[in-house]
Amino acid sequence: MNEAVVLEHVEKHFKKYVLKRNYASFKERLVHFNWFEKNPNKEQLEVLHDISLSIDKSTVFGMIGNNGSGKSTLLKLIAGIYKPDKGRVTLNGRVSTLIEIGAGFHPEFTGRENIFINGIILGLPRKEIKKRFDQIVAFAELEEFIDAPVRTYSTGMYMRLGFSVAVNVDPDILLIDEVLAVGDESFQKKCIEKIMEFKNSGKTMVIVSHSMEMMKRLCDDVAWVRDGTLVRGSTPADTIAAYQSANK
């Protein structure tokens, strides 16, 4: 099998009342409830329609698109966090997600403690984390601050630590949502090197980013998510160009 990720006719809807978060309070229900008609809030909003996609092993797959087009939803479907309403998602290998940097970090705890918990959350046994601990800290360039609580970290430090844990968990498939944008030039360079190294060792990555420069440099394949469907040109550069001209 050469595919790492396969999506077949995947659809995803959200109920409108969930999106709007307008859970009617008791008073509202009494006053405004329409007793005879169907509740309009029960309507569904289709976020992704009929998406089919396969991503080969040892490639970097990029997703671009405007905010709210469904990129993150697609990423969460691949991660298994959302279940598709229709269709099927198949994965070959262990997934590590970096949908938000440092998801699960506790601000009162030190960098050291958070590395362990974050690593365990991402599915790495304690022993393995111990083995890779120095590597994680070195990559994040946080040797000096590793025993300070992460609430004292700057956004950049926080991000470096989160990224470092996620890549050192050594997954087969790594999903990255919009996180490379924060670091400074030198750290970005390091991330790109790491991503290349990853790719060369046969691993697969799915990246969401608004930085077209980065996408051009990194991705072997790019899809433009437009209103819940995939638009793809003949080459990644084509897709990016089409997206850019649509936004002019």
């Binding site: 959200f14 109920k15 969930v18 859970y23 969460k76 991660a79 298994g80 966090i81 959302y82 279940k83 997934v95 997600t97 949908i99 938000e100 998801a103 699960g104 506790h106 009162e108 705890f109 403690e113 362990f116 918990i117 365990i120 959350i121 991402l122 046994p125 304690r126």
Partner: protein, 261 residues
């Protein structure tokens, strides 16, 4: 049935995460405070002294060594009630994890239950210290506490799973649980022995399953006798039913958690 097995198997597979989060939960509670872990003992001690002041000085309840009687019930009640109040919001408050990383969500309410159980176990030496200081006897009956704790664990886990899942869709539950626990605290013989309850209303206490549980604790620590095993067996069966219902509700609702929180 298959899902039921999976529920527990997933929990077992993620035991490293559960234990890491339990340790973090225990540490997080008093992190940054000067007295730190010492608060684990200080909190129940101060709570007990407040009740002691009210019920033995002002209201004159007339029970010898009332402090031990109080401790026997107050400590496990703290476990039960704090597990529920922590647990009811555990899924909603864990949104940063649940919407971003794939892991079995039952980990979160389970951690709430276990953190508070550990906390209870840590406070037991305090109770034993009171027994020694007041020269009260305690023999092998002490070990009867193990099945009692097991029953409470099963019951608390079931109840916590249930409320944590429902709270995602019906957030008023958080408030309801808090108030319900307040009621529960006063209609369970914790501050007073069951014998102080007027005959006419005693039936309420017999309906309340918590009565059996808390009397068991009092029998062991205060009266130094074994609990009523038959009643405890009934409660064990009842607790299993609560756990099964809890798991069932949780499994039914969990699929849509990431979309609702």
């Amino acid at each position: 049935m298959k899902r039921l097995i999976e529920h527990f198997r997933d929990l077992y597979r993620y035991r490293a995460l559960v234990s890491a989060l339990v340790v973090r939960g225990l540490k997080a509670r008093y992190r940054g405070s000067v007295l730190g872990f010492f608060w684990t003992f200080l909190n129940p001690l101060l709570l007990m002294l407040v009740y002691l002041l009210v019920f033995s000085t002002v209201m004159k309840i007339g029970i010898k060594n009332y402090s031990v009687f109080l401790f026997a019930g107050l400590l496990p009640w703290t476990w039960f009630s704090t597990a529920l109040t922590d647990g009811v919001g555990s899924i909603v408050n864990g949104s940063s994890l649940i919407t971003k990383v794939l892991f079995p969500p039952q980990v979160l309410p389970t951690v709430a239950v276990l953190v508070n159980m550990m906390n209870y176990l840590f406070t037991l030496p305090l109770l034993l210290l009171f027994l020694i200081v007041l020269k009260m006897p305690l023999g092998l009956t002490f070990f009867s506490i193990l099945p009692v704790i097991l029953v409470q664990l099963i019951l608390t886990q079931g109840a916590t799973l249930m409320v944590s899942a429902i709270n995602v869709y019906f957030r008023d539950l958080q408030q309801i649980v808090t108030n319900f626990l307040m009621l529960g605290f006063f209609v369970t013989p914790i501050l007073y022995p069951l014998s102080h309850v007027p005959q006419k209303v005693q039936f309420i206490f017999y309906i309340n399953p918590m009565t059996v549980l808390f009397r068991s604790y009092q029998w062991i620590f205060y009266y130094n006798i074994h609990p009523n095993w038959l009643h405890l067996l009934y409660l064990l069966i009842g607790s299993f039913v609560v756990l099964l219902i809890g798991v069932y509700i949780f499994e039914k609702l969990k699929e849509a958690f990431p979309e609702f929180i």
